[in-house]
Amino acid sequence: MPQGIRDKVAILGMGCSKFGERWDAGPDDLMVEAYLEAMQDAGVEPTQLDAAWFSTHIDEIGSGKGGTPLSIALRLPNIAVTRVENFCASGSEAFRGAVYAVAAGAADIALAVGVEKLKDTGYGGLPAGNPGTLNPQVMPNGSAPGNFAQLASAYRAKHGVSKDDLKRAIAHVSVKSHANGAKNPKAHLRKPITVDQALNAPMIAEPLGLFDCCGVSDGAAAAIVTTPEIARSLGKRNLTTVKALQLSVSNGYESQYNGWDGSHFHTARIAAGKAYKEAGIERPREQISMMEVHDCFSITELVTMEDLFISPEGQGWRDVLDGFYDADGGVPCQIDGGLKCFGHPIGASGLRMLYEMYLQLQGRAGERQLSDPVFGMTHNLGGAPASNVCSVAIIGREDA
């Protein structure tokens, strides 16, 4: 087991643009918005940045390839900029790059910026990326909701849960996130909804209705990281440090070998197990104060509660209905509204999750502030249940 990242890197500052249908803003504007807030929070000058990581997923319609879009938008002083892409977990990947550079001593202060400009396609839902030459000849002509919806059929079959019970549980997931998002001025969707609204919404991909799907949003988020020592030398106190950064990537086991049952995320369990070990957490259900998970769809969030070992296997749907993940529950989840309501500009989402955990740990979450959080966990997934990349990060109080 490697030493791990625990407490080697501190967050110096973070920023996040307003998410939503940003008809007014291109990717450059979104990046600048997040970056300026992060720089002000960190209290550093551009010349103090040693390197940057830039994440964006759908380069065809968004912000382009390579490191130049970030460097030009922010007028960075010709420092290294690496573009990273790992599906919907791209934002976590940018953070990982910056954190590892600092931990390695290659950079004193590093920047991570994630952005996605999705609302330039002319239609709702995610834009279609370039599928390559082989996939379209064999893969179903599917969509993200259609891939994730399959979790529901397999979960029902495995755990003997009725269609109605599971539909009610995933409706609760979305109702909870809408209630949270309503309190977040930067969130895309800010209207509370009722269970009936969620149950009766138009079907997108069975059994997922409109309210089971997250917002498709424009937005950007940014983080500036350094060592705890440098942070203190810059006058920072009550540091938020990185406790764990894990990434697990499918190798074809789920999609090609008859082992996986289709009801959960194989990678999430591996990443979560390693992250708890790296962070020294033994009883996640008691020790994790709050989390932001990859609720691209309500069913994803529900099964993730089990994959992160917070709910026992097969019981996640009961915990959800019991309100265990509500703002006043045992482990508040998606306190900022989540992908569901804060929105999901793909390349920015991993950093957006960390942004909320950071604000909460710093006591700066306003109306949403939870009392005395210690560990915040983010779970950022890319791909589809049968083939994906899963990032699990834990940040927390330096003294925890």
Binding site: P140, G142, A149, L151, S153, A154, R156, M203, N251, G262
Partner: protein
């Protein structure tokens, strides 16, 4: 001596109610109201002459056949997807036939199905003859009501098999009752009375008489007379002219499936083979710039198909939505939405490199661990033994399978929304995320038994390229068996 060792047939599951058509068109074509009876077979959007021929061939060969004994392949159709790409090559790849086979496309006339069969019977060796037809007709035309979609296939051997060839007769004459040029896919017809009196009545009997002469039979010796025609009573009137007993005239299936063009003679022959008693004689003929006639004697030997025409006709679902028929046949400009605007250009290099995977549904099996996977890869997927370069080709197409997970997707573009797809797991190992076809909302659930079917994956309308792959369809025989078991 040559004969038919095995046969198979296919009709698409959808049957369009003719009444639904005539009622919709009553305002413009009130003269067709009398034709509003019965139903015609209707290809799903992802079926064409070639996919149906593949299904008929699978029915003829059976699931256990390793197909290495086939020396030649004839694919016959007047509605083949490609004008310059060997369509039989696609059929061959789908059926994983040997690369060393002789293969040809036979086309150009409504009799080309029987021509291909006749050619195979006189050429020696073991041949597979697969005939499929999917004709387009203009909305509100009589052809739209008369036509059906379907296919038949035969395994021809040098021995007598199930039906021994007794005689063959041909007439070739450029009598143009109808034609289809390169102008958009519709037939142009001449007057029916002329076609009947000057064409069929004069050109078909000599072909039949020649075949009977070779067979050493007289017309009254014929027990089953198969002659497709959309003219009412045509076969009976021909029989009378020639001297064939009236009771020998077989039902042309017009009421239950319509006429499947060049595949219809072969379909009627397959149907007769299913019902003929040992020793009975079968005469099949089809008209088209002359005629082709073949005479057989049923032996009671050979291999009966799992489905055949009888099974294919029994597996039906009524379709009363005429607009759906028009849409599936490309007769309506409909709003497919912006998600359908993508370019479907096919990388031919990728297609060829993965030919057995894409067209044959061939994956891999690890020599060391026996682990089965799709696709075949250099490093095995087995979690505890990622052996290198141990994979042997492994065919998935005939394996039993079931649904592990699925969704019915209303967001993605589909010619028949919602698009059903899911993770399909195979008995004996392996799994594939694939499209599920021939289903409606509510039909699919985890555990549903499915079988593999060869279908159109996508169409590149800009370039006229049809992309094929395999899909899962409900295994209705397995479902019926499950239901029967549950009832006990």
């Amino acid at each position: 001596m040559a004969g038919i060792a095995a046969w198979g047939a296919y009709a698409p599951r959808l049957r369009l109610s003719r009444k639904a058509v005539t009622e919709a068109n009553a305002w413009v074509a009130p003269n067709l109201k009398a034709k509003g009876k019965g139903e015609r077979s209707m290809a799903n959007w992802d079926e064409d002459a070639l996919t149906m021929a593949v299904e008929a061939a699978r029915d003829a060969l059976g699931p256990a056949d390793d197909r290495s004994h086939i020396d030649a392949l004839y694919f016959a159709s007047t509605t083949a997807p490609f004008a310059d790409r060997l369509n039989a090559g696609i059929v061959s790849a789908a059926l994983t036939l040997e690369k060393s086979i002789r293969a040809s496309d036979v086309t150009g006339s409504q009799r080309c199905g029987l021509t291909a069969l006749g050619q195979a019977l006189v050429s020696g060796g073991t041949a597979l003859v697969a005939v499929g037809e999917h004709r387009k007709a203009r909305a509100a035309s009589a052809q739209e009501l008369d036509f059906g979609d379907g296919a038949a296939a035969f395994v021809v051997t040098e021995g007598a098999g199930a039906a021994e060839l007794l005689g063959r007769g041909s007439v070739t004459d450029d009598f143009v009752d109808h034609f289809r040029g390169d102008d958009g896919g519709f037939d142009h017809y001449w007057e029916e009375r002329w076609i009947r009196d000057e064409g069929i009545v004069k050109l078909v009997p000599p072909a039949i008489q020649r075949a009977l002469e070779v067979a050493g039979l007289s017309p009254s010796d014929i027990d089953h007379f198969c002659f497709p025609s959309t003219f009412a009573g045509m076969a009976a009137s021909l029989a009378k002219t020639i001297g064939i007993r009236p009771e020998a005239v077989r039902d042309n299936l017009a009421a239950v499936m319509g006429e499947a063009g060049c595949a219809h003679g072969p379909i009627m022959l397959a149907h007769a083979l299913e019902e003929a008693k040992v020793g009975e004689t079968i005469l099949v003929a089809q008209f088209g710039q002359g005629a082709e006639a073949l005479v057989f004697r049923a032996t009671g030997q050979g291999q009966r198909p799992a489905r055949g025409v009888t099974g294919a006709l029994a597996d039906r679902q009524e379709e009363t939505n005429y607009l759906k028929f028009l849409t599936f046949n490309g007769l309506i400009e409909w709003d497919k939405g912006m998600r359908a605007e993508k370019d479907n250009k096919t990388a031919l290099t990728t297609l060829y490199r993965n030919e057995d995977m894409i067209l044959g549904l061939v994956g891999g099996r690890c020599r060391e661990t026996g682990v089965v996977q799709f696709p075949r890869t250099r490093i095995s997927v087995a979690p505890n033994n990622p052996a290198v370069d141990t994979q042997e080709p492994y065919r998935f197409a005939e394996r039993k399978a079931s649904v592990l997970s699925y969704s019915a997707d209303y967001l993605t573009f589909s010619m028949n929304p919602p698009n059903h797809y899911g993770m399909i797991v195979f008995e004996g190992g392996g799994r594939i995320m694939m499209d599920i076809t021939d289903v409606a909302p509510g039909d699919v659930e985890t555990g549903l038994p499915v079988r593999m079917v060869f279908r159109i994956k996508d169409v590149d309308e800009k370039r006229g390229f049809v992309r094929y792959f395999w899909k899962a369809a409900p295994d209705r025989a397995a479902i019926a068996a499950q239901t029967a078991q549950a009832a006990e």
